[in-house]
């Protein structure tokens, strides 16, 4: 058996990873909640964001945490454009078409990155990458602690944006009833694109928080995208609090499975949860309506 300290550390580490997972899932669940589509390109877009972080660090020496400032609006704009000019027009409003178009996008993005950056795995060499904070008996990684705090902060900010601002109200109106929203003068195509942009902005922040302790290669998004789908399904498609809770829970499960089953089998716990939730209760465990 493992000592309580090791288990406690695994739990806390899992929760910290989970918060960043939640941030990734947040973009996915937001897009699902409003556009009612499953965005298969989410993982590839995350990979693109991670490469962007790496690139500005290598080329301009920009610290990943500072990179949040330019990259978030950049990815918002990118997401806006992708939805408005590619996904929207190409799918003719048909659900299975959207599924296929986003799949096509993910293939294009992933392989464009492969063509541009080759398949090498890259990391950032920041001077704080391995710093730790003592927390009682636990030694916690400083950048991951920052990631945890920032992810939760962004979740709260996004929630405030949706519940307090006019843009948020328009987004929620479109999510509930797009036809009615268009009747009261809301530009649905614009709101869709804004929502997709917000989803991509979340990815940019997540990428900046991940990169100090993680690595990037063109295929890395695949590892995250299924985890993010699991969180979204678990938390209830479209639910922001659900995504946060789901993310923390999945981080926790992954960390413990990794501890007890080893690295190669660690992820299986996540997929089994995923399948079970889909089969038993596809509307999610935290009560959001499908």
């Amino acid at each position: 058996m493992y000592s309580p300290a090791i288990i406690a550390e695994a739990v806390v580490n899992g929760l910290m990873t989970g918060a960043v997972y939640a941030l990734i899932a947040l973009g996915l669940t937001l897009v699902y909640g409003v556009l009612h589509i499953i965005n298969f390109a989410h993982g590839a877009l995350l990979t693109a964001a991670m490469f962007a972080v790496w690139l500005v660090y290598e080329a301009l020496g920009l610290d990943p945490y500072l990179a949040i400032l330019p990259l978030t609006p950049l990815f918002f704009g990118l997401g806006y454009a992708v939805q408005r000019f590619v996904i929207g027009p190409a799918s003719h409003g048909n659900d299975s078409n959207i599924l296929l178009v986003t799949l096509g996008l993910s293939i294009v993005i992933e392989n464009a990155l492969l063509a541009g950056f080759r398949s090498d795995t890259r990391t950032l060499n920041t001077d704080y990458g391995f710093q730790v904070v003592e927390f009682g008996p636990l030694l916690l990684s400083k950048p991951r602690l920052i990631g945890f705090g920032a992810a939760i902060l962004v979740t709260v900010l996004l929630w405030l944006l949706l519940s307090r601002t006019d843009t948020g109200k328009a987004i929620r109106a479109v999510a509930k009833e797009k036809f009615g929203a268009s009747l009261v003068g809301i530009d649905v195509a614009h709101v869709y694109a804004v929502t997709f942009g917000l989803g991509c902005a979340c990815l940019a922040v997540a990428a900046c928080l991940l990169m100090p302790t993680f690595y990037v290669n063109p295929r890395i998004g695949q590892a995250f995208v299924l985890v993010a789908f699991t969180i979204v399904v678990l938390g209830g498609m479209g639910s922001i609090p659900g995504a946060l809770l789901g993310g923390l829970f999945i981080g926790f499960v992954e960390s413990l499975c990794g501890l007890f089953l080893g690295d190669s089998l660690g992820q299986i716990g996540i997929f089994l949860i995923f399948i079970l939730v889909l089969l038993v209760r596809p509307t999610g465990m935290f009560g959001a309506k499908a």
């Binding site: 799918s91 299975s96 599924l99 993910s106 392989n111 089998l265 992820q267 399948i275 089969l279 596809p282």
Partner: protein
């Protein structure tokens, strides 16, 4: 099926069977065999996705099962490769039935069905990658022992013919489905499940039938892959690449048509080779083209290449009549 349905399939396969008589370059035959394997996997997907409207994103689950069964049964248990191949195909059908039973019983459809199939394939990939019986991450190597009785051949032409025969058999099978009660009910499920039920269609049984046949066909492609390359590992057999290939070919070729998957696979991989020749050795460039084509097909040619051909034939006919 009538003679008119069967004749074009037989003629096409007979013509294609002549190819090795003219081309003996190994690289070309390699390309053709690989393309046929993809076409076969895609034909499997098309039965469920094209005719039944159930979009699986995890056909790797069947491909991998066929591939691993073919490899493991002969390497670990000494079973004759031909029999191992047949068992692998049946195993694919069984996996199809189980995944179908679980998901269709729970009423999963659309995006949810796509996600759950993807997850099943990933679970199998992780298991195959971790278990010692499957050779773990190192995979399984099939011993080189070139004898026809051993499903290994001196010439690549022989493999080409076997792959072609299987593709031809599935063309006939799909043609039969198109003209049968099962096919009519399957298409009805795709178009409108509630209406199909009201007309007495046992939708669960029809969908289960489709995913079982679909699993068997794609597993046969996997078995063929293992036998041709004599090597299988988890990322090849259960990797997302094959799930994607199986989706791409029917959509680009013509969703829910008999020839769509074959046309799509040939067109995609033909174009992929051309792109590689043109762009040099940039990795991923062919897949970029595939992804772009998928988007373009959905946006501009929902009936695929066959749909475009039919449309242009009709407008040419109309021009002549005018």
């Amino acid at each position: 099926m009538t003679f008119r349905d069967i004749a074009p399939i037989v003629v096409l396969i007979a013509l294609l069977a002549l190819v090795p008589a003219f081309i003996s370059a190994n690289t070309v035959l390699n390309f053709l065999v690989f393309t046929l394997i993809i076409a076969l996997a895609a034909q499997g997907w098309n039965i469920l996705g094209g005719f039944g409207g159930q979009f699986s994103f995890g056909h790797a689950a069947f491909f991998g099962t066929g591939a691993y069964a073919a490899a493991l049964l002969q390497v670990r248990l000494g079973i004759n490769p031909w029999i191992a191949f047949a068992i692998g195909t049946v195993a694919g059908a069984a996996v199809g039935w189980v995944i179908g039973y679980l998901s269709f019983r729970s009423g999963l459809r659309g995006s949810y069905f796509a996600l759950v199939t993807l997850a099943f394939a990933e679970v199998l990939r992780i298991l195959a990658n971790a278990a010692t019986f499957t050779g773990g991450a190192a995979g399984v190597l099939i011993k080189l022992d070139v004898r026809p009785g051993n499903f290994q051949f001196e010439s690549r032409g022989a493999f080409f013919w076997i792959a072609l025969a299987l593709v031809g058999a599935v063309l006939l099978l799909t043609g039969w489905i198109e003209r049968s009660r099962f096919g009519a009910q399957l298409v009805a499920v795709r178009e409108n499940e509630a209406a199909a039920k009201a007309l007495g269609v046992d939708t669960l049984r029809v969908k289960l039938g489709a995913i079982t046949i679909s699993g068997a066909v794609t597993a046969a492609a996997g078995g063929l892959y293992a036998q041709y390359f004599l090597y299988v590992d988890a990322n090849i057999a259960y990797g997302t690449w094959i799930s994607v290939e199986a989706i791409l070919a029917p959509i680009v070729g013509g969703l829910g048509t008999v020839f769509g998957p074959l046309v799509g696979a040939v067109a995609l991989h033909g174009l992929g080779e051309i792109t590689k020749l043109a762009a040099g050795s940039v990795p991923g460039i062919d897949l970029m083209v595939f992804g772009g084509l998928l988007i373009a097909a959905v946006a501009f040619a929902p009936a695929g290449i066959l749909g475009l051909l039919r449309r242009s034939a009709r407008s040419r006919g109309a021009a002549r009549n005018a």
